[in-house]
Symmetry: C5
Subunit: 308 residues, 5 copies
């Protein structure tokens, strides 16, 4: 994810090349430009290719397409922002869990404090991997002997970590370290972990319905292919840059929507899951007053320019 | 449901034929083409059929129609996505129920663990059938002797399964396996089962108000029927493909909206309820550490191309 | 409410006459047609009535009006769907209450089971009447001797039924049939009854602000009255059908919005409250294993074509 | 607030004069009419004031302005409806509190019943005043000797009444009239009182950001001032009524938005807070079976035409 | 934040200069004016720079751009209003916490009352700093000896204050001043503190995806650069003011969106966090009946014109 100061216009323009989707867009616009050049050249040769055009009808179709694209943009952005909101809930619930148990656990109960801090921190790290290329087990804290090895046996790692935490609460209850009343609040924070995991899976595995996607792609393709014919009688050779500008506008909205739709990849617009996991780890350790290696704490405040 | 990678433009184009709604759309567009050909041929014969046209007025009506269609699209998509969100909640709550009871039930209490895993897994399988062609009882796990036979007597199968689970929690409470405090959390997850079932029934049984639907269909019909007359004076024989393209755009949005609206069918855009039920079964069994037949576990990871 | 299969285009067209709002719309469109005929006839007589027209300006005003009408449509539909959602919650919470108490009440405690099933079923039936023409007391089950007579004394019948249920829970608590813990869950389902009742009253008693409504009606009226003058110079006698089509589009959206806005009437677009009440009664009786008269059970599955 | 039957078109038209915002709108439209007359007269004198005009560009700007105005309308309406929703929650939570405590308090405990009914009814009455011209202390019930005098000392009266209720619950708990379990539900309803109060304050004290408001006002002003110049070459003297119609449309949406935005005033579109407070008082007294003066009960059903 | 009466049109116009974003906008519009003048002058010199233009195509692109800008406006406003809503929740939960504990703590327990009032008031003050230029520790109340010094050691100050409050509740529980039941409600209010903090961080650190932002900026830039060429053939020298007006409209929406997006700065459109913190402090002290210095109470009612 590229973090930028949105009020600075020129700086934003300078990031032109760093976004892969922008580069692909420009490539496609170039391709449309070649097509428009061919059409224009042919029409100059064979003048019967130049029609009188019903510009209002073409413009109505263009506005209809724009409305569909804004609908598409909206749904894509909603997924992106819901993803961010979910990870925000993860941050909040991990912090709240840590705050609650910090106040209950004796200040010198290092064993329980460390176990909790490590397993709780492992959850977002595992979820990050689960949503991307697979869980990276070497990144997880070894909270117990054989802990990571056991996790490797699980099909659904986040569920397994949630079970470990649940077993931990039950142990605290048995040892009288928390009261039954505390469990009610703890459960509310705890269940948020799997709720977030499930909701992220939902966003990732449910693209916009195929028919819509195909329908819009078909609409755009025909619209752009006919665009030069609609401009030729007015613009002649200027048809080429104008067609390219129109293609830029239409393809751009569609392509960015496609990319934003799954916010858990590693594109320049995707959410910084790793960064957020690091921050949760640092926060949870600080709240529970468990030492965390300096290097890990530094990761929480990684320079905020391009983060993953 | 067709699962596809939305950033791949060409692959999406190649799925042209696999969506029944796209095929029906193309058929209707062809039909409009025949009509436009007839109008054009007649107008060439009897030139008084060619009018001067107020293109701005026609374009304003078209934009108004587009706005209504985008509204329609929005409501249809909201139902589709609400349906998905509900089944996502089902996943989350089943997992959370399993995690909580896994931590309470003794590790060697195979009877209770198996009963819970089976009845909990039966719920989404029964709901899948309930929302589609009727409950397929042979798919349900025989959690008890005579269990499935008894279920067949129920009018509303999901309610009956929810009652069984509720009786199970009460039994655990009586046997002291859970504390009253646990019941508070369990109930919150448990009630989500019937909430999801009821909300799915609501989506399925409440179409968009009849007047809107009829009104929009009437609007589109007249608009498309008059379209050739508005294009004839500019385009002559080109009127035919251009009318077809316009009809494609308008009919497409309306028809896809109609199809998306009920996301519980078995169309190519409908939700993969069976797939999700299989995944819940696999997750719940893994969390509760109950063996599940290899074949059933495989279903949870069925190849993700066209799933139901 | 007309229930229909939204993908079947021709069947939808055939329901033309059964919707009173569609009939009123067609009547008004006819009226606009007469007006347009008069204007056209006069203009043919006195040709100075034919102006040169700024079609773009008229079209811009039309698009602005369309945007306002889509906003209006959205708010009206939101009320309609919120109403449906609320009754869906009523279904869910009644089922959940019944499931919970079914698991606690001894299987042979017919008195309590019957009382609960009847009073719980009375709530939606009373709310249906409360939101429509007044509570129909003869439809309520006589849960106790003198029960219905006592209800007739209440100003706000739904609140009174909610109080009866609350007293019932307290009695169960006293008799030790439920634990204090159960009350926490029961209360959450129980309070939904009055929440739904209050929210339905809110929808019913808060129309869209008067200024908006008047403003839009004024805008449409002037716009339609000037429409023939804008079309005359292009279309002459064709002005009449085209004005009627334009009036159909504009009046239709506005009128349907007005009708949908209060979804608790008995129009063809209104919610099937009675049908839903019958279904709740059947579900609650089945879950609590209380016999329900065959005739009443049949009402729950009334043929799904035009229901109230 | 003017309550009206939204399907009755002519009745709505007849309320023309009773809405102050509509009157102000008509005044401004008249003012624009004078300006347009001056421009037209001058242009007839000095014909060089008549330009050739790029009507499409003007129309594009108009559509852009319309889109912004619909956005403005949406945000204003959202505040209005959120305000209504909040007061609806107040109704629901007061009723639910009364239902719960009615079932617990002994039927003959008149002292507690009366105290609760009066203090609970005072909350919405005080909040009504707090959001409008200041709390009208003479409207509050004297629940205790010196009760109202003590309230007058408070800076934030709604918080003080909430504290009184909280102290009342604690007293009931101490006297064993409610169990700790009941407190959990009571708190949930009780906290809604201050949540509603705070949310109403938020709506009231947070106008739409200044820049947006100014920006839109600037846009409209310039757009309307240039409107006659864009119409002159087509319409000559007809420019005046057409400009006035355009100004009606644009100013109307903007002005109604401004008015709706704060729904707690006493304009004809504002929420009937006093009416709702009276209804809460009547409901709460009926549920708790505490007598309420006939006159006060009548206020709850005040004729529903113009209410505050 | 500039607080203004939105119905007063002229007053709003007079604030022209006080908003920095409006000033920057006017500067940019001036810049576009210079560019348009240069283009116009050149085109008068070299008349071949004047093209025939396809005005409908340009207008379609403009409408598409408008739709994207309204989408942008919507997302920016949603963040602004979510920020306000979050701080409103902070107000409500602090008040509710104070009300609940006021009713439990003995009236003469000054130590606990003061400690709670001060630490609870410190939370919003610290969050205000945390979201802006850093926590201003001298603004925090010294609730304990060495209290502020200890806070300075924390990385994440709001979490630390939340921990202090949590420790305080546990102490009250141990001393029997609250029952376990109370903890359930307290926790619900308490966790809102960190939820609000986390959500504010989310809004602040997640700009709109870079691709969208860049894409829209690129679209606007090209659109405005080509605008004079589209107007030249109709307007000649009038092209300059008309281009400036168009640039005002387009740049304005985009720039205000950029500014609103992060509502936690100190711009004239940003939320008055300091003012809200002061109000929470005054409310909490009043509810808990703890004296607050006159000067601090005055800050809660600071004149409502430009507040931070």
């Amino acid at each position: 994810m590229i973090i930028y100061k949105s009020t600075d216009w020129w700086e934003a323009l300078s990031h032109l090349g760093s976004s892969s989707i922008i580069r692909l867009l420009l490539k496609r616009v170039l391709f449309v430009g070649l097509y428009a050049t061919a059409v224009t050249a042919a029409s100059v040769q064979f003048s019967q290719l130049i029609f009188t055009v019903d510009k209002e009808f073409f413009s109505f179709l263009g506005i209809m397409l724009s409305l569909l694209l804004v609908f598409r943009t909206n749904t894509a952005y909603d997924r992106f922002y819901e993803g961010r909101r979910l990870w925000g809930q993860l941050v909040n619930n991990c912090r709240n869990l840590a705050v609650l148990l910090h106040a209950r656990l004796p200040a010198d109960d290092h064993a329980n404090r460390t176990y909790l801090a490590q397993v709780l921190s492992n959850f977002p790290i595992a979820l990050d991997g689960h949503l991307r290329q697979g869980v990276r087990f070497h990144k997880l804290a070894e909270a117990d002997s054989g802990y990571v090895e056991e996790l490797k046996l699980a099909d659904h790692v986040p569920s397994r970590i949630a079970s470990q935490l649940q077993e931990f609460y039950e142990r605290l209850l048995e040892e009288g370290l928390i009261l039954p009343t505390h469990l009610i609040t703890i459960q509310r924070h705890h269940e948020a972990l799997l709720d977030v995991a499930g909701a992220c899976e939902r966003i990732q595995k449910t693209p916009i319905p195929f028919s819509y996607s195909y329908f819009i792609k078909g609409f755009i393709t025909v619209f752009i292919l006919t665009m030069p014919f609609n401009l030729l009688d007015t613009y002649r050779y200027l048809t080429v840059p104008i067609t390219m500008f129109g293609a830029y506008a239409l393809l751009g909205v569609e392509m960015i929507g496609d990319e934003i739709e799954d916010p858990f990849g590693k594109d320049s617009n995707d959410l910084p899951l790793t960064q957020l996991s690091n921050r949760i780890r640092a926060n949870v350790h600080e709240i529970l007053q468990v030492d965390l290696h300096e290097e890990y704490r530094a990761l929480a405040d990684a320079p905020y320019s391009v983060v993953f």
